[in-house]
């Protein structure tokens, strides 16, 4: 078994540089902050620039189907940068989750989603862990769907919803145009990944996958594996920004960053982030390679990076002092994103519980 590459390739570095430039121009903290006050004018143009102009919506789609033919490794780098900028775009929900489902089904919608012309979202609560019970609406004999799915990420930006629905003995996946559904945005802890409640009332669906549960779980697992990279990006912003601030900020006649108590805190955070980078890269590489260790890799990464990003954001606020508690300073955007990411796609506790099964560390006696 050769070890997976946990570093960044030159191509990945170039991709990062291009995206970082674009985000520095378009995705300013002030514009991001405005989404909390209901001004979402940043979202559509930014998503167009990322999805269509840079072509990142089709990253995971083979070239023959109109995509870039890249892998989960590049998608992970994109998520690192989107996390670092706290960017409010539906990349994870459309370009990762929905795209993987459409790929799995060989669905005709794929080229339009890959080009960024269309945006899709899986109608499932954002909190759903890959191994958890799946929410599904009801369906009738004419493929009409009825039910409510709460706290769906990416629905407000989508034109197509992929809706899990219960059939006699399994879960099927249907495509529903948002126009046939009622999508009610909800005030969210992280407004850069705003949730919506989706209500379907005899909405006409189009069958995408008849037996969709394995595909849905695989897509959620991929999303969990890659969200770790977003969490890494969030953590890096927090560390870099805090280090820069503490080099400048003076109290007691000297730069506050010179106090050993703070140096040790930041050194610990750096250590944690280097570990998070290893975990996140491993999950992305395992996903890209179709490695059998993916379930372990994804849960390790989601559990570790989820907690680490929250710690990084909490340290950023604390070490900035009063200014960290203000709306004006961007640290809060990262705290909210980090905390919501920790709860998304299964909490660290849920992933650790899942790992207990995967690596044979349950509470049950052997043979029980």
């Amino acid at each position: 078994m050769t070890a997976l590459n946990l570093l960044y390739t030159d191509i990945e570095d170039d991709l990062r540089a291009t995206l970082r430039d674009l985000l520095a121009d378009l995705c300013t903290p002030a514009a991001v902050s405005a989404v909390y006050d209901g001004d979402r004018s940043l979202v559509a143009p930014l998503w167009k620039a990322v999805a269509a102009d840079l072509g990142l919506a089709g990253l995971l789609v083979p070239e023959a189907l109109g995509g870039a033919g890249a892998s989960a490794r590049e998608a992970a780098v994109v998520l690192e940068e989107l996390g670092r900028a706290s960017a409010p775009v539906p990349f994870l929900t459309s370009a990762v989750v929905a795209t993987m489902l459409l790929l799995n089904a060989g669905d005709d919608l794929l080229p339009a989603v890959a080009s960024g012309e269309r945006t899709a979202a899986l109608a499932i609560p954002l909190s759903t862990a890959p191994h958890a019970l799946l929410a599904a609406v009801a369906t009738d004999s004419q493929q009409r769907l009825t039910g409510v799915v709460t706290s769906v990420a990416g629905a407000a930006e989508a034109d197509t919803l992929l809706v899990p629905a219960s059939t006699a003995d399994r879960i099927a996946l249907y495509a529903v145009p948002v126009a046939s559904a009622s999508v009610a945005p909800v005030v969210s802890l992280d407004m850069t990944r705003q949730l919506a409640d989706v209500t379907l009332d005899y909405a006409q669906g189009r069958l995408v996958l008849a037996d969709a549960e394995p595909a849905i779980r695989a897509a959620l697992r991929a999303a969990a594996a890659l969200l770790a990279s977003e969490q890494l990006g969030v953590s890096r912003w927090c560390l870099e920004t805090t280090v820069a601030y503490l080099k400048e900020r003076r109290q007691f006649g000297r730069p506050v960053g010179g106090f050993q108590a703070l140096k040790h805190r930041l050194a610990d955070l750096y250590t944690g982030i280097e570990s998070a980078a290893a975990a996140a890269r491993y999950a992305a590489a395992a996903l890209a390679a179709g490695d059998l260790d993916l379930p372990v890799a994804a849960s390790v990464a989601k559990a570790f990076c989820g907690d680490l990003a929250v710690l990084a954001a909490e340290e950023a606020i604390q070490l900035h002092g009063g200014i960290g508690m203000t709306w004006e300073y961007p640290a809060h955007l990262y705290l909210k994103r980090a905390k919501a990411d920790q709860l998304a796609l299964g909490t660290p506790a849920e992933h650790r519980a899942q790992l207990a099964e995967l690596v044979d560390l349950t509470m049950r006696a052997p043979g029980a």
């Binding site: 802890l189 003076r250 006649g253 703070l262 604390q318 009063g322 508690m325 640290a331 506790a349």
Partner: protein, 397 residues
Amino acid sequence: MALAQNDPAGELRRHVAAFLATHDPATMERLSFLRARYDAGLAWVAFPSGHGGLGLPGALQPDLDRLFAEAGAPDNNPRANIIGLGMAAPTILAFGTAEQKERYLRPLWTGEEIWCQLFSEPGAGSDLANVATRAVRDGDEWVVNGQKVWTSSAHTARFAILVARTDPDLPKHAGLTYFLCDMADPGVDVRPLRQITGEAEFNEVFLTDVRIPDAQRLGPEGGGWKVANATLNNERVAIGAAAVRESGIVGLVASTWREHPELRNTELHARLLKLWVEAEVARLTGQRLRQKLALGQPGPEGSAMKLTFARLSQQLTGLELELLGEEGLRYSDWTMVQPETVDFAGHDAGYRYLRAKGNSIEGGTSEILRNIIAERVLGLPAEPRVDKHRPWRELAR
């Protein structure tokens, strides 16, 4: 009878019963009732008689408040005047003149006059002794100019406790003086500052030629550092004064656990129980601290209490969101409002999580509190200081 003297709780109960026999909370107007309660010495038990108290042990305060609550009496809405009750009042009691105590303490306790704290500045946070706001004497008055920041409830306050520099030629700690500032002065300009919760709980306060009569100086000229430290020590003791088991944040998280069996898992269970034990021990530590402090002003020991309180409130609110899962991803409202109180229980778990981040910053950061414990309690050597003995005017900023 000797027994009565050794039974302050019984004495207190008798006082309250006698008071309630002649003051019916059901029929009396709220403010008259509160003023009468103050005049009867049943406001803050540890204060001397004549100033709202009976000189009884401070540990009896929760009993006192409970007796009144059980009688259906109105309270003084303490959450709207946290700084007044927890910080300004004990400082005025310790350092005020007879006139100052007479003028300020009663309306402060009844809530007729809300107080705020004009200490921090852009350049003076952890390093409070670095304040640059200047107070210059002009006859019987002081003329004050400067900028304060992070001032909680400046928008509701009638008065402020203020630290200003009266002599820039002295070393930084020696040139400070403490004042009671009238927030209604036309030179006081309060501008809201929004917090990460969405609310504007604190403010920037610009002071332009604010005139403060010398009679509103608290303590001697140049004695501001000592008075300010008394305020801060009181603040740190006032924080986390939970009297009853599961009061405060741990109680809120415990209810969430009890009400939502479907959310439970073994890891969160273990973490909740660990924090529950720590919160219970913190409650007992607070009780013990208040018994120790029954006499006199609190010293630096209260820092440990505040340190624990901040850590627990942050860990518990973080855990609550993890427990809530999907519900924790939702938030009540980001609209900017200027609240009159800081109320953890009246908001959702997301607000609690965000607001609790301030607990380890306000009133002295947890890092500064650790320094205080290490240096002032344990007597470990202090950091080398370049700024302590030179005239404040000459320090690099």
